[in-house]
């Protein structure tokens, strides 16, 4: 159920994510030393446009990538097809994106926690 366009989108987002994931992992490994705290996380990310870009790209990519990926699985293992399959993909993509965007916003520019 993948045509060339979906395939390319999945690969492009994957390539995009690879360095981001590595970066994320590195930060995690670094951060986890000495335990995690909200303040610690947020102090790093709050107000940083770069982090917004970093995690924002990630959120967009993962939404596209995950949606297409789940689409394949749901088709092959779940037998979903036709319009239902497309609807599924869009719903997943949209939800992933909303969740992601919310989270990224939360850790960067959302108000409520003074630095």
């Amino acid at each position: 159920m993948l045509n060339l366009r979906l395939y390319m989108l999945q690969r492009i987002t994957a390539i995009l994510m690879a360095p981001l994931v590595l970066g994320h992992l590195a930060v995690m490994i670094y951060a986890i030393q000495g335990g995690l705290s909200a303040a610690e996380v947020l102090s790093r990310t709050q107000g940083s446009f770069l982090w917004l870009l970093f995690y924002g790209t990630f959120a967009v990519a993962v939404a596209i990538h995950g949606a297409i990926g789940l689409r394949a699985i749901v088709h092959e293992w779940g037998g979903l097809k036709g319009v239902a399959l497309d609807v599924f993909m869009w719903v997943v993509g949209f939800s992933l994106f909303t969740l992601g965007a919310r989270a990224v916003w939360a850790v960067t520019f959302a108000k409520g926690l003074g630095a």
Binding site: L42, I73, L99
Partner: protein
């Protein structure tokens, strides 16, 4: 029994790499909403985020996190392997590539795990 023979009859390295990639992708996709939800808490309820993050000290959560990082590593290297296989001019060494990708990802996650303790 049937499922078991269904797997054993397919169990060659590339198929295992495929199933690993798929299951890790699936698990990531299922975990991601959770992960994002937790992060979003930062906006609405920072205390709960802290409470949650404190949990990371507990062994079980650590293990779960190790698993997630492992998943991410496995999936990423599996995906890179796949794209290398598809797009780089063909070499017959894909099986070794698959194996080494899995090994590297395992190593990385192990590193993470060791550091975390």
């Amino acid at each position: 029994m049937k499922a078991a023979s269904g797997i054993t009859s397919r169990a060659h390295p590339l198929w295992l790499a495929y199933i690993l990639h798929r299951l890790s992708g699936l698990a990531l996709a299922l975990f991601l909403p959770l992960h994002l939800w937790v992060l979003a808490l930062a906006m609405t309820d920072p205390e709960r985020l802290d409470g949650f993050l404190n949990l990371t000290e507990a062994g079980a959560v650590k293990l779960a996190e190790f698993g997630l990082v492992f998943l991410l590593a496995v999936h990423m290297f599996g995906g890179l392997r796949l794209m290398a296989m598809e797009w780089l001019p063909w070499s017959t060494s894909q099986k070794t590539l698959a194996a080494s990708a899995a090994a590297i990802s395992f190593l990385i996650s192990l590193l993470f795990f060791l550091k975390a303790i």
